[in-house]
């Protein structure tokens, strides 16, 4: 087993264990922390894929900011201690299983190697060599994918405005 494989399997296992623990813990704080482990392990997997910039963003945005906000809300509302489960009755369980199964099926289909995934050579490393590690992500984002990018930002803006309106009774 090569070093890359070793790193891959270690962090895959950590990610899966973290995800499983996240959905089985009763205490919200424990769940949130296991989710942090999953997100961090995903960042490590991005590094294995040579996408170091994405990995750093994953840690910076998800593990470092969004999950801290989650914890902040959990602690602020004092939800931290273990409570009863949210899954109600066999009907809820059945729907959850069905949806989860569908998602898993989709993922399995997506995971079969296609022609796009088998380009020779180290494409990411070449791109990063040519355009710098940020440029390799930024250039397509601001040229080829400009419209989706702008639409996403409008969506985020709408979400922010909505959050402020909901949170502030008196504006």
């Amino acid at each position: 087993m090569s070093l890359t494989q070793l790193v891959f399997w270690t962090f895959s296992a950590l990610a899966v264990v973290g995800a499983a623990m996240c959905i089985t813990r009763r205490s919200p704080v424990a769940s949130a922390l296991w989710l942090v482990q999953t997100l961090f392990s995903l960042a490590a997997l991005f590094v294995v894929l040579d996408a170091q910039f994405i990995a750093v963003l994953q840690v910076l945005v998800y593990a470092g900011a969004i999950m801290v906000l989650f914890l902040f809300v959990i602690m602020l509302l004092n939800l931290g201690r273990a409570g009863p489960s949210d899954l109600k009755g066999p009907a809820g369980l059945a729907v959850a299983t069905l949806l989860g199964g569908l998602l898993f099926f989709q993922l399995l289909r997506g995971a079969t190697p296609s022609a796009a995934g088998t380009r020779g050579g180290n494409v990411m490393a070449q791109l990063q060599e040519e355009q710098g590690i940020v440029g390799a992500v930024a250039r397509p984002l601001f040229s080829q994918y400009l419209i989706p990018f702008e639409i996403t930002s409008v969506l985020l803006l709408a979400a922010i405005v909505g959050a402020v309106v909901l949170a502030k009774r008196k504006l």
């Binding site: 704080v29 910039f53 750093v56 840690v59 470092g64 900011a65 801290v68 902040f72 602690m75 940020v134």
Partner: protein
């Protein structure tokens, strides 16, 4: 490969030891400087000039009784000091601290890992440090500790944004996030503190808030929260929070020196800028880097014993209503200026480019200063001196 492994392990050991020794010495230096500012002597009994005081303190921490609150969340309570301690020690890895060292087997770059993601790595890992503080506050099952933890998480998220925005300015100018490239550019065209004066100002303020130092040490404001998030901690676990705080200070100082003050560049000479590398160059640049970092450490301590603490709403208002809009406006202006100089005039980054940007920054800094002051302090005191008020 073997050479890479051996040199890397050697660098890791050296850097790790250097950080811990510096942290220990900084606790002593802080107490001595604080004593000087308050017109007393400070600890000077243990060893010559009190040099062994940190060792005595460490021994005391190790031998003290560890306490565990009865209703604390035990696992997280034990984990929290480690969580805040580890990222603090990890972040220094990407900072180049001297010119490359020539050896018989090839040049050794004097940085533990010159990652392509550069200072983004530091921002990412240091953003994980907040978990330690937050979880310490929550798991103690103590209302003051919880308030401290809540404050810490809100404060660190808020100022992380301003800090990230100020480093975007560096990225705009350097075109790259790798710290070795950032240093090379500053050697060629002048330090970024001149061409990015306002970005440095924003970074400096955010760095104080990120490291929970006065005037932003609200998470442990002893006047209102006993000791904040580490109220329930004792002995070595308590010390680990302190080591983390000082290690964060050290990394922030080194990062400011690297991003804005040329890193290991020796000013007013180009002797150190390029090959052939020699041992003398490595030692000299390393010393210069230490001096720059020490200046910022001193600034941290100086500010701590000079300024009073902010109120919590003032802290939040400063972060969201002043620093963030300021950073956004500044980035827009700076991007336009860089675009004009690079694309319209066709200049490459060099001394002339740097001075042109410095002119722009000086004007902006003057405007900012005038707006922040708004006749309160400067003209107010002048008026008082002239007897008009």
């Amino acid at each position: 490969m073997t050479f890479f492994l051996v040199s890397s392990i050697a660098k890791v050991v050296v850097v790790f030891t250097a950080i811990l020794v510096t942290v220990a010495l900084t606790t002593l230096v802080e107490r001595r400087i604080c004593a000087f500012i308050q017109d007393r002597l400070g600890p000077n009994r243990v060893g010559p000039q009190g040099l062994l005081q940190p060792a005595a303190d460490g021994l005391k921490s190790l031998l003290k009784e560890e306490t565990l609150p009865v209703r604390a969340d035990k696992a997280l309570f034990l984990l929290a000091p480690a969580i805040s301690f580890t990222p603090a020690l990890l972040t220094f890895a990407v900072i180049p601290f001297a010119a490359p060292l020539p050896t018989r087997w090839g040049d050794v770059p004097m940085v533990v890992a010159d990652l392509p993601v550069g200072f983004l790595y530091i921002l990412a890992i240091s953003s994980l440090g907040v978990y330690g503080v937050t979880l310490a506050g929550w798991s103690s099952n103590n209302k003051y500790a919880l308030l401290g933890g809540l404050r810490a998480s809100a404060q660190m998220i808020s100022y992380e944004i301003a800090m990230g925005m100020s480093t975007v300015a560096v990225l705009l100018l350097a075109g790259n996030v790798t710290l070795s490239r950032v240093i090379a550019q500053q050697q060629a065209g002048g330090w970024y503190v001149l061409s990015l004066l306002l970005a440095f100002f924003i970074f400096l303020v955010s760095a104080f808030a990120e490291t929970n130092r006065v005037p932003f040490d609200l998470p442990e404001a002893e006047g209102e929260l006993i000791a904040g998030y580490h109220t329930e901690y004792s002995a070595m676990k308590f010390s680990m929070f302190y080591i983390a705080e000082y290690a964060n200070m050290l990394t922030a100082s080194a990062l400011m020196a690297t991003l804005f003050f040329g890193g290991w560049d020796i000013p007013f000479t180009s002797w150190d800028n390029g090959p052939p590398w020699t041992l003398a160059k490595t030692l000299a640049t390393g010393a210069v880097f230490c001096v720059k970092t020490a200046c910022f450490m001193f600034l941290y301590i100086w500010v701590r014993w000079t300024l009073p603490r902010f109120r919590y709403d003032q802290l939040m208002a400063l972060g969201w209503k002043v620093l963030l809009p300021l950073a956004l406006v500044y980035l827009t202006v700076l991007a336009t200026a860089v675009w004009y100089l690079k694309e319209q005039l066709g200049w490459a980054y060099g001394p002339a480019f740097g001075w042109a940007l410095f002119g722009l920054n000086a004007v902006l800094a003057g405007l900012l200063f005038w707006w922040l002051d708004r006749g309160r302090i400067v003209s107010g005191s002048v008026a008082r001196a002239e007897g008009e008020v």
